[in-house]
Symmetry: C2
Subunit: 413 residues, 2 copies
């Protein structure tokens, strides 16, 4: 532990406070919906108290239990996996429309469903995506304030530090979460202010350039990612439709924007494994033509990858491209977190599926059709995967193909 | 522990099995909604597994956390206590309409809210009752199969056995729950079949008699409870609208029916304390005129009692009257459980508020107005309180006032 380290209870309380004040920027009178693994109850309690102190009217937590999930895959019939809790998903979407904020705690066992029949896993996951779509649209549009923070569960820690004893692994993962989340600064709220300013400046620079495309080059990668017409770069805190500034990810290191769903071409190799709904997908190699993945391989989990790509029409196209320096604090931990919130913020990445409307300028009065014509992708999924490393260069391309170096060996030029 | 006692894990699994097979009689393909205190996760897991084995399509658990509830009462503003999770309550009602079964686990700290401002407690509780009304109507109509079972939390156990060490108190409470729930029989499913037959026979006898009223007499009690026109006695397993036989309470010892909301008169004294939403109400003395409580006192919690009675028009009238022999297995434990599920099944009782439509004959095509004209009460609340003991006699009265002895000193004649 560093010299500024506090005891665990104090640091957990700091995480709760940063989640409510920086992550959510919860407004007096707002309802708050939390989703969390059962094991995260101690963090949920810290968040709940800070939320009520900040004026929350009501905090409601949906706990998920890995054991219950496994019991379903072990015993439920194939057909019944098409059932998902539409009554709950629609209720949650309604809560957001009524102004509720959303906080998700990540950290559940990343490989819980390894060993389950992938057909069954995919069937249940499609059913869930279908009913969660309305809520997900509200979130991606930033119609309400939301954030994701992490809890170091024992199952997650065991996979990040397989050689350590369980307690030690969990302590180490907590140390990494606390420092990556900038909680060990003298005043975390001030530190987050400075960090947000840096990310906003980088996004503003990219918005001025108005590149036509980005080009990623490196081992196994030569990818040109066209950017959507009127794409907007974002990073750090975001403003909701009603003007509340929230930090959707704690931690965050990325600046990101909307690619053009029909102007992506070339090959790309993943630089970190992807953990999707309990399944590991590693060593991904894909080829894009006219924005669509036309060839896909994975050293591990290729079946799961194919099923993701088959989810719907937009699942094989990009909805996000993000630039992250290899020298970010998260990346410098040297830890493979096996969790998207951390790994995507340690590496430039692209996301399959749904685009963020927030990452487009001039969307006032736009229709789904007009957004789509500008290149914004739509899908039930949004799955980030990592393509950056210290061996990847990134250039910005003008309409005429002129290249401007942006990153060399993973560092901003 | 008795000779037939198994180790705790086995008994908990038996409780899970009885809850799913006897309590719910869960049908293949049904969704299941569970509500439970966080501490009950081990029982939730047993129930969840038995539910999936029985063919459940999806089991969704809403966990309640006492700490979160307390944080709200400590920090939230008065006005914000009017907010309740309408989006969730309506979603749950929709799930029931779509055919989901409901299982509630009772056992949360019975006096959690002692020491909180009763005005605030009542404000939050009214808001919750308001939004839960639709779901409650579906449940009271038995439009779906449902059950309530108990988990021996440490806070509950500490209040039942204040002189024992925490572990011992919890063990003792578990022993009482397991035996009261008829789980220590060689085959609990067979034992429940026999018990249901006894309760059905007693209800059938009372239905043949078609009494005009019941009369309770004993110390501090001389109460005539008119019965609704075409009232139906029920007890043990019930049939849902679609014909599924479920046992709504595990354990259960009562036969019960619908009183006439305007034909109750006289005085009645409670024989056990009432624990309502974390507040203790004891030594209740009330006087009825024309079905309505016109005078109400309580040795403890009188404010809370008055607030209950003020909830709405029907809150000061009766929606249920139930007969329970003093010599029931629950009562013979000699334990004051401080929990309605157990204490109401150890004592004859009446309930303020909503009547069960199930406890009326010939309701096909009936309107709310016609049911009300027959004497069925309506209210947002349904709160049972205990008026039976080994010093209470009960008579059935004909239209002309002729009395037939039903119980003497708490025993069936
Ligand atoms: Zn991203
Ligand atoms: Zn993303
Ligand atoms: Zn009853
Ligand atoms: Zn009752």
């Amino acid at each position: 532990m560093s010299e500024t380290a506090r005891n665990f209870t104090d640091r957990l309380d700091r995480l709760g406070e940063v989640a409510v004040r920086i992550g959510l920027n919860l407004q007096p009178g707002q309802e708050l919906l939390i989703s969390a693994p059962l094991e995260a109850v101690s963090l949920v309690r810290r968040i709940t108290e800070h939320a009520y102190r900040a004026g929350a009217s009501l905090v409601t937590t949906q706990y998920a239990d890995d054991e219950a999930t496994l019991a379903r895959f072990r015993h439920a019939s194939d057909e019944s996996l098409d059932v998902s809790a539409d009554w709950l998903a629609d209720g949650i979407a309604r809560a957001y429309r009524q102004g509720a904020a959303r906080l998700a705690i990540t950290g559940a066992n990343p490989t819980l469903l390894n060993g389950q029949d992938p057909q069954r896993v995919s069937r249940a996951s499609r059913a869930a995506s279908r009913v969660n779509r309305a809520a997900m649209e509200i979130i991606t549009r930033f119609d309400t304030n939301w954030t994701i923070v992490a809890y170091a569960t024992r199952s997650w820690a065991a996979q990040v530090f397989p050689d350590l004893a369980p307690d030690e692994a969990q302590d180490r993962l907590w140390d990494a979460i606390f420092s990556a989340s900038r909680l060990d600064a003298a005043d975390p709220v001030v530190a987050w202010g400075a960090h947000n300013a840096t990310l906003h400046a980088r996004a503003a620079m990219l918005n001025e350039r108005r590149f036509h495309a980005l080009r990623f080059t490196g081992p196994g990668t030569d990818l040109e990612v066209g950017l959507a017409d009127g794409h907007a770069w974002a990073g750090g805190s975001e403003r909701t439709s009603s003007g509340v500034a929230c930090n959707p990810n704690i931690p965050t290191e990325e600046v990101f924007t909307t690619p053009h769903s029909h102007r992506v071409k070339g090959i790309v190799r993943s630089t970190k494994p992807l953990f999707h709904q309990g399944t590991l997908i590693d060593d991904i190699n894909v080829r894009f033509e006219d924005g669509r993945i036309v060839e896909a391989h994975a050293g591990q989990g290729e079946d799961a990858l194919r099923r993701i790509l088959d989810t719907d029409e937009g699942a094989a196209r990009l909805g996000e491209v993000a630039l992250v320096p290899h020298a970010s604090p998260i990346s410098e931990t040297g830890i493979l977190f096996r969790n998207t919130l951390f790994d995507e913020n340690a590496s430039s990445h692209i996301a399959l599926g749904q685009a963020y409307t927030k990452c487009l300028f001039d969307t006032e009065g736009a229709t789904p059709e007009s957004l789509s014509a500008r290149g914004a992708n739509t899908s039930m999924i949004h799955i980030d995967w990592m393509i950056g490393s210290d061996r990847i260069d990134v250039d910005g391309l003008d309409c005429d193909g002129k290249a401007t170096p942006l990153m060399r060996k993973g560092a901003w030029v």
